[in-house]
């Protein structure tokens, strides 16, 4: 058997767990992304210094177009008088650059702890920060110029690092820059203009820029602080998650206990219902709004159940009375006659026969009711002359009506016919007429009218009544119901109208009773719509 409490606990715990895990993961990954972005931004800022420092690298390393300078005159190499100062100047410049590069490089790697390695396209390392020592970083491949790539790497001592790989071409200060929109339209390697263009004021004339190699560089920085921060964050999230989970369990338990209390209360009330407490009702005032419809439906159900139970009890009680009383009469009369036989006479025999007939009538009526209510109908429809049948059925009651001084009005059109089972229709007419004759007070009126061709009416029986109210009217067709609670009249068992209605239904006819006025009741037999 499923339990609402169990199901709610399961789903709430599952849902809250997913929410807490998702929230924790979200926080963790947001912080991680932020930290990485911060590191990457720091590395990105190093792009320019790296580029600048590469300009200090000797040109012949950076380009195949530049020949390495001759540090001194060698035998066989005799520059001209004009070339000699230029060569010296270049040597001096190169030395100065190397010195500057060495200083900057030292400061750069020591002050910031960055590791840098720069390769030529052929994989030759042209520059490496001193803190790398003998270690070499792995040269990244498939880089695009100008587009940095960021990635994590692990140092040889297991240190977590963040790396930025870039590909760039040195700018080559001191050279004539070649641009695509050069107005002179010169191609690389073409002779410089003769109008002195490209000469720095006071300096030597600028040379055409040689074609520099694309260099690949990796700059790394220590990522341990970031990982430590993330580890602390994860620990915090886990701790908060455990506390939140425990808090959620307590909250769910309390909420369900409090929220399901009305349901438990309703369940206990329902469990207490038995045959003796069907008159009880559920109050929806002290119930939550969600349970109000259930309370209302339960009350309706209880009301119907109470009505059915009362009818059932009344039926059993009435049946018991209808059968027990004649049996008691028979038994007592027999016992008295046997013990004191002098008193036995023909009157007693006559009474015994009457009792037997009364009981036979009850049993036959019950059997007919049972048969037709269970659908065991063997109908034989034929055109029935309503006027003829009505008059024939009324005949046995005419004498009794006269005795009671009842005024009778019988008006059924001679032409009125109905395709139906005459046997059942006779049973309906007989019971209606019997009821009217028996319960019309002396001096009253009985009106029996046929159809006027309107509203599917077959027959209506109107008679005078006394002390009949709407409450009694609702019980009129119940088995054994009698207005007289004492059930004194032995001639009627209270099955006639019940039998008439059951037979009507079997013939697809509708039998209804209405109080026309306080003292007039109308039984209408109509064709069902």
């Amino acid at each position: 058997m499923t339990s609402i409490r169990k199901r709610l606990v399961t789903w709430l715990l599952l849902g809250l767990s997913i929410l807490w895990v998702a929230a924790g993961a979200g926080v963790y990954y947001s912080v991680q992304r932020g930290e990485l972005a911060r590191l990457d931004a720091r590395l990105t800022k190093l792009d320019s210094p790296i580029r600048v420092m590469t300009n200090l690298i000797p040109r012949h390393i950076l380009s195949d177009d530049v020949k390495p300078p001759s540090p001194a005159a060698t035998p066989g190499d005799s520059p001209t008088r004009d070339q000699r100062p230029q060569r010296e100047d270049r040597v001096l410049r190169e030395e100065s650059r190397s010195k500057a590069l060495a200083e900057r490089w030292e400061n750069f790697s020591q002050e910031n702890g960055y590791q840098v390695q720069i390769w030529k396209p052929d994989g030759t390392t042209i520059l490496k920060s001193p803190n790398l020592g003998e270690e070499n970083l792995e040269k990244p491949v498939n880089l695009k110029p100008g587009t940095p790539r960021f990635f994590p790497i692990t140092g040889k001592d297991g240190q977590q690092m963040r790396a930025m790989a870039i590909m760039f071409r040195p700018k080559g200060f001191g050279f004539q820059r070649l641009r695509g929109n050069d107005p002179a339209g010169r191609r690389p390697g073409s002779p410089p203009p003769q109008n002195g263009l490209g000469r720095r004021p006071g300096g030597p004339p600028l040379q055409d820029a040689p074609r520099f190699h694309h260099l690949t560089a990796i700059i790394t920085t220590n990522a341990d602080p970031m990982h430590q921060t993330l580890a602390n964050l994860l620990l915090g999230i886990t701790g908060i998650g455990v506390i939140a989970a425990l808090g959620s369990i307590a909250l769910i338990h309390f909420s369900l206990k409090s929220g399901l209390k009305p349901l438990d209360k309703l369940g206990r009330k329902v469990a207490l219902i038995d045959a003796s407490s069907l008159d009880g009702r559920f109050s929806s005032n002290d119930m939550p709004r969600e349970l109000s419809p259930i309370c209302n439906h339960l009350n309706e159900l209880m009301s119907r159940l109470e009505g059915s139970f009362e009818r059932e009890q009344r039926f059993s009680s009435d049946l018991a009375h209808e059968l027990r009383t004649p049996i008691a009469e028979l038994r007592m009369m027999s016992e008295v006659a046997l013990r004191w036989p002098d008193g036995a006479n023909s009157d007693q025999a006559k009474e015994t026969l009457e009792i037997a007939e009364q009981m036979q009538g009850i049993i036959e009526s019950l059997l007919v009711l049972g048969r037709y209510e269970n659908g065991q109908t063997d109908l034989q429809p034929e055109p029935v002359d309503i006027a003829g049948l009505g008059k024939a059925c009324w005949k046995p009651f005419a004498g009794r009506a006269t005795e009671k001084n009842i005024k009778v009005q019988l008006e059924i059109p001679e032409t009125q016919t109905l395709e139906t089972d005459p046997k059942l229709l006779r049973l309906i007419f007989t019971n209606l007429f019997s009821n009217a004759t028996e319960y019309t007070p002396a001096g009253g009126v009985i009106e029996i009218n046929g159809s006027s061709g309107m509203n599917g009416m077959v027959l209506s029986v109107t008679n005078t009544v006394s002390d009949l109210d709407d409450e009694s009217l609702s019980h009129l067709f119940e088995r054994f119901w009698r207005q007289d609670d004492a059930r004194t009249d032995n001639n009627h068992s209270g099955l006639g109208l019940s039998l008439a209605r059951t037979c009507s239904r079997a013939l697809a006819l509708d039998l209804q009773a209405n109080l026309e006025t306080e003292n007039r009741i109308v039984f209408s037999l109509k064709k069902e719509n």
Partner: protein, 225 residues
């Protein structure tokens, strides 16, 4: 003993009344609840036999009314209502017994006898004084072991005196408890019945006289010292 029977079924009422009369009870019978209530109020009965479903006033209401007026007459319900709830309801409203229809006459007589004994505080059916003894269940009387031949009326008179032995019983009380509405006792009927009873219980010439006359008061059944 005088019994009121209120039962709306004519045939049953007449048969039960006949059986009770033949058994020595004085019986008043009616089929209407209102009449039954009036009779229970006006007369002094030893037992009331009431149906529950009655025209006029139902049996339970009759019981409520007479109990409300302080009458402690034993009440036995004779009814077709057979459920436990009905029986419990009847007994809790103050009835002394409950018998469901159909019932055996023998059982009805035994229950009435038990109710009568209870109302006169006699625990057993055998009641005696000196050597005179009656059996209320068998409706027989004997003296010195010799069975007495008594009519139903004479037995009823003796039973009433035995039940009230030692107490003075007036003629009116005897009339009320021995004779029913069908009999119109003349002024000397009681005296005549007492005379006959004295004669019948005196089985021999030296039998101890037990029924004594208290002039102006009535009769008393006792052993005079």
């Amino acid at each position: 003993m005088r019994i009121l029977l209120v039962e709306d079924s004519n045939r049953l009422r007449e048969a039960v009344a006949k059986g009770l009369r033949e058994s020595g009870y004085a019986v008043d019978a009616t089929g209407d609840g209102s009449d039954g209530l009036w009779m229970a109020r006006e007369n002094s009965y030893d037992v009331l036999l009431l149906d529950i479903m009655l025209p006029g006033i139902d049996g339970l209401s009759i019981l409520d009314k007479i109990r409300g007026e302080g009458k402690e007459t034993p009440v036995l319900f004779l009814t077709a209502k057979d459920t436990i709830a009905d029986r419990v309801k009847g007994l809790r409203r103050g009835a002394d017994d409950y018998l469901v229809k159909p019932f055996a006459l023998e059982e009805l007589l035994a229950r009435i006898d038990a109710l009568c004994r209870r109302s006169y505080h006699q625990p057993t059916p055998r009641v005696g004084i000196a050597d005179l003894e009656i059996d209320t269940s068998a409706k027989t009387a004997s003296r010195g072991g010799v069975r007495l031949e008594l009519t139903a009326r004479e037995y009823a008179l003796l039973e009433y005196l035995m039940m009230r032995q030692g107490a003075v019983v007036s003629r009116t009380e005897i009339e009320e408890h021995i004779y029913d509405e069908l009999v119109s006792p003349m002024s000397n009927v009681v005296d005549s019945a007492i005379c006959n009873l004295r004669r019948k219980i005196a089985t021999s010439g030296d039998s101890l006289p037990l029924i004594h006359t208290r002039r102006g008061q009535g009769y008393v059944l006792e052993v005079k010292k």
